[in-house]
Subunit: 314 residues, 2 copies
């Protein structure tokens, strides 16, 4: 099957309005009056961001959801995406694999009300490379940023932390117990789209590289210090069960795709009400102060020192 048949079979059914059925090299997109475009792009490389034997449909869904999480962090409504795939020959990435891959895309297109706009398909000499550029929109000037945290604000996170990081260890055979739900958390994150946090939070981002490192981004961009309290961090019991043996991995682990926000005290009620109305768990985990850097305190109010801060790609 050639490139054009491949695109027609697997991706044309996913094409939305503006995609011109993927028959062009490009696509168009209209923007509602008074809105601005919000974009983000994430690449997933076989062996680095997913494993060769991960199910194709979960690889597809994670690819979309990492990008959806970036939009959520900016307060944008998801609309479309561009998909780029570079496919190694002579491997197991065949018709069956891509049929399943496309079914994962289709499921999340439906769930998040988005559609495929276009992209590119090439060969690859070695790993399977997947890239999505996602397009959303937000009312003009209402994008959430990282640089608005102020001393006195609280630090909040959605959901729970550490499950995906442990799930990866299970997948790598490095964690006994093999809880399927941890693997599921690693494979299919839950992007927190659909909230309306403009005017409530002072800064926001998603936790992809680990809580401490991502707090570092907000601290740096906002010119503030952040203190986190270990005992306040939201962990499920299945994560707590590994705390004694994998504490640093849990505290620093990435791939959560939860929202990390700072919020002035005057807006804390509004934040809690809004998240409750959307069934999004919410926990206050720290405070913003003057200064710089990120500190995590243990139950005895002692600073925890880590051997690293989080995930960097190279």
């Amino acid at each position: 099957m050639g490139e054009f048949d491949f695109i027609a079979q697997h991706f044309r059914p996913l094409a939305g309005r503006g995609a011109m059925e993927l028959r062009n090299d490009g696509a168009t997109m209209a923007l509602p009056a008074g809105e601005e475009l919000v974009l983000s792009s994430d690449t997933m490389v076989e062996g680095l961001h997913f494993l060769p034997d991960d199910p194709a449909d979960t690889v597809a869904r994670k690819l979309l959801r990492c990008n959806l999480s970036d939009l959520a962090a900016m307060g944008a409504r998801p609309r479309h995406y561009m998909l780029n795939v570079s496919v190694p020959a002579g491997r197991h990435y065949d018709e069956n694999w891509f049929t399943k891959f496309a079914s994962g895309l289709a499921a999340d297109q439906k769930q998040y009300d988005i559609s495929l706009l276009g992209g590119d398909t090439t060969g690859s000499p070695s790993p399977l490379m997947l890239n999505v550029t996602i397009l959303g929109s937000v009312r003009q000037g209402e994008v959430l940023r990282r640089d608005g945290a102020q001393p006195g604000d609280g630090v909040w996170v959605t959901g729970s932390l550490g499950r995906a990081a442990l799930g990866l260890q299970v997948r790598l055979g490095k964690l006994d117990g093999g809880e399927a739900s941890l693997v599921e958390a690693y494979r299919i994150p839950t992007p927190r789209v659909g909230l309306s946090l403009y005017g409530i939070v002072s800064a926001a981002m998603d936790i992809s590289d680990g809580l401490v490192q991502d707090c570092g981004h907000i601290a740096e961009e906002s010119g503030v210090a952040i203190t986190l309290f270990e005992e306040k961090l939201p962990f499920t019991s299945e994560v707590m069960a590994h705390m004694a043996t994998h504490r640093e991995m849990i505290l620093l682990g990435g791939d959560d795709y939860e929202l990390l926000m700072t919020c002035p005290p005057t807006q804390e009620d509004a934040l809690q009400v809004h998240c409750r109305e959307h069934n999004v768990p919410l926990t206050k985990v720290g405070t913003v102060t003057e200064g710089q850097g990120v500190t995590m305190l243990d139950k005895q109010q002692q600073t925890i020192s880590f051997s690293r801060t989080g995930w960097q790609h190279f």
Copy 2:
């Protein structure tokens, strides 16, 4: 140097309005009233789309220009781009390489009045992978499409053909003569941005996979047949010098990034005047008729048969 310093050093100076200095995972873009967004995406893989020892600045410029050519084919004005790079460790893709790569991006940003909006940087287990999603805009409803060709239209191309295909052969050591200008054509295409062809041409695309194959796309999308005349194809003398030995490669070769258009007879004067005013060479190379498929006729009006039609990526 970590991921964040790498981005700060090489890519932050390229960031435009809406990019938030690349400090977010995302970016924003406003669209002028009455315009719609036009997007295209192209991936370049080391060993497939460029050679490991190609100069970094020309790799960068080709990456942008392939994408710019897609916008040109849709009649859109280029505005911004998202850049994704996946970098193999332990190779020659080091600080020096990326300094030169960024200088190529900077040169073409200036030349085409575009800026970097955002993107993603990851590692790669093997090849260097580069991807750009380019964003342009066009007056609502005025995007050029591939499906409007009508029987009776002429088929037109800009510039000249075959130089890039021969340039690649020079680079691969498969073509004696080693003309530097052919290599230059392969490395740095000239996207035909800046024309205003809406209402003049009936269909348009850019020639990236080879004239015959790309005519096939217009023929298929428009439901027409296209006949090309070999003797009318625009070749420079340096290309003609290889015609006896490399005819099929020249006639089918890709990477031209010239515009391929169909134009009704009533608009031919307008097309020629417009291209002349913009110093864009223009040649009528064929006709559109009822039927399907693409035929190329030689000087004796005999159908030329090819062993393949053009470039497919897998």
